[in-house]
């Protein structure tokens, strides 16, 4: 029985593919990829490339993010129907995700159109926040702490509550709401405990603490912040 599989290729470092992702890539007959601008190959595709069959069929498709519900649903349904036909024709069909397919991925949306119609699998990948913790050599959670992953474009009141309530916080998509996040952290005297990482693992990677910024600064699209409130020696605290 063939299936449709979402494959997490990790945060961008080609060494952070899992063995299972490599095995899965090698078996694909067809790979659907989001249509890129002007013939560019996506980072996810570049990472997967060395493992793909030479005979693989790559189907580049547009996944529109337009305002109209009807137009969007129609376009996505069309791609879903193609995938269903390919799987039913006996092909192993794949879809790539940077990071993990369960974290902010197009794959999850696509599954809405496929669930119950064909078998679907997912191969977990290293998420961007795991990779950032590894670059910083810093724990995300210890002991009985909590960790929240929060997109910076959440409603400001919810942002404040989530930051107040959790022991550890990863703030994603920082670029879209930098000034507000800065203000919330400044009010709580948490700027120095918040590590900001711009373009993690990329050539122009920058690591600073939040107090090295100004609230009106512009940060790159791939910027994430990690707040760890507990700075004492955790093993001692826990005794």
């Amino acid at each position: 029985m063939t299936y449709f599989v979402g494959i997490g290729v990790g945060p961008g470092d080609s060494e952070l593919l899992t063995l299972k992702a490599v095995q899965t890539l090698k078996q694909l007959d067809t790979l659907y990829v989001p249509h890129a601008h002007s013939g560019q190959v996506s980072l996810a595709e570049t990472i997967a490339q060395p493992y793909l069959k030479t005979t693989i069929e790559i189907k580049s498709r547009r996944f529109p993010m337009v305002r109209s519900q009807t137009v969007k649903a129609q376009e996505w349904q069309k791609i879903a129907d193609e995938i269903i036909a390919d799987v039913n024709a006996g092909q192993e069909v794949g879809f790539l995700t940077l990071g993990d397919p369960a974290i902010y991925s197009t794959f999850s949306y696509l599954c809405n159109y496929l669930q119950g119609k064909i078998p679907i699998r997912s191969v977990a990948g290293i998420s961007s926040f795991s990779q950032i913790a590894s670059i910083l050599v810093q724990p995300l959670i210890l002991d009985n702490e909590s960790l929240a992953i929060i997109p910076a474009n959440k409603d400001p009141q919810q942002l404040e509550q989530l930051i107040d309530l959790n022991d550890n916080v990863v703030l994603m998509k920082l670029a879209v709401n930098f000034a507000k996040i800065y203000q919330i952290l400044a009010q709580r005297n948490l700027l120095a405990q918040t590590t900001v990482i711009e373009r993690a693992s990329m050539e122009q990677q920058v690591i600073k603490t939040m107090n090295q910024y100004h609230p009106e600064d512009k940060v790159p699209y791939f910027t994430t912040a990690v707040l760890r409130k507990e700075h004492t020696d955790a093993i001692q605290k826990n005794t």
Copy 2:
């Protein structure tokens, strides 16, 4: 320059090692492993085994979790001093973590004793909750949602607030506080939306929803619950 490295070997499936973890394991001269009972080899060690040099020195050490702060700190400091000596003697020294070294790991505690003394690195691994999402083929976060990772042994009031405030919740260590978690979810009519997974990826894996349990049930040590409040078609909601 040699270093000390924490290596995430993933959630238990040997295929969920990353290529980088494999490369790192191959270079180790010395591996520190927590002392196991009666000569048993840990799951993490079993996963790593095929990639280790035949000449590797495996140092089994006790990492005591005793009540006395002083005794604990002394014992850990002794192991840390050994690691520092090995690294300074030109060895690549490793430590294994099931899942990810940044998530609830002994490696993080050990780093407290090593930071600033020798170079430390960390190789990210697939966390148990990523693997669970992949088994369920279910998103952990979409769009502008938040995700909280919460240990079930947190203070009950904090548990309630975190469950109320977040869009998605992963409840770890469910066995230690099952009745309370059941009660909190029941009060909020969230039992049917909470998926429980016992012994993920293991032979006796069980997947049920929370409403298939009774509050007084005992669940195995490796039990995790995933709550996803949003059950509508996310892509439609988002338009």
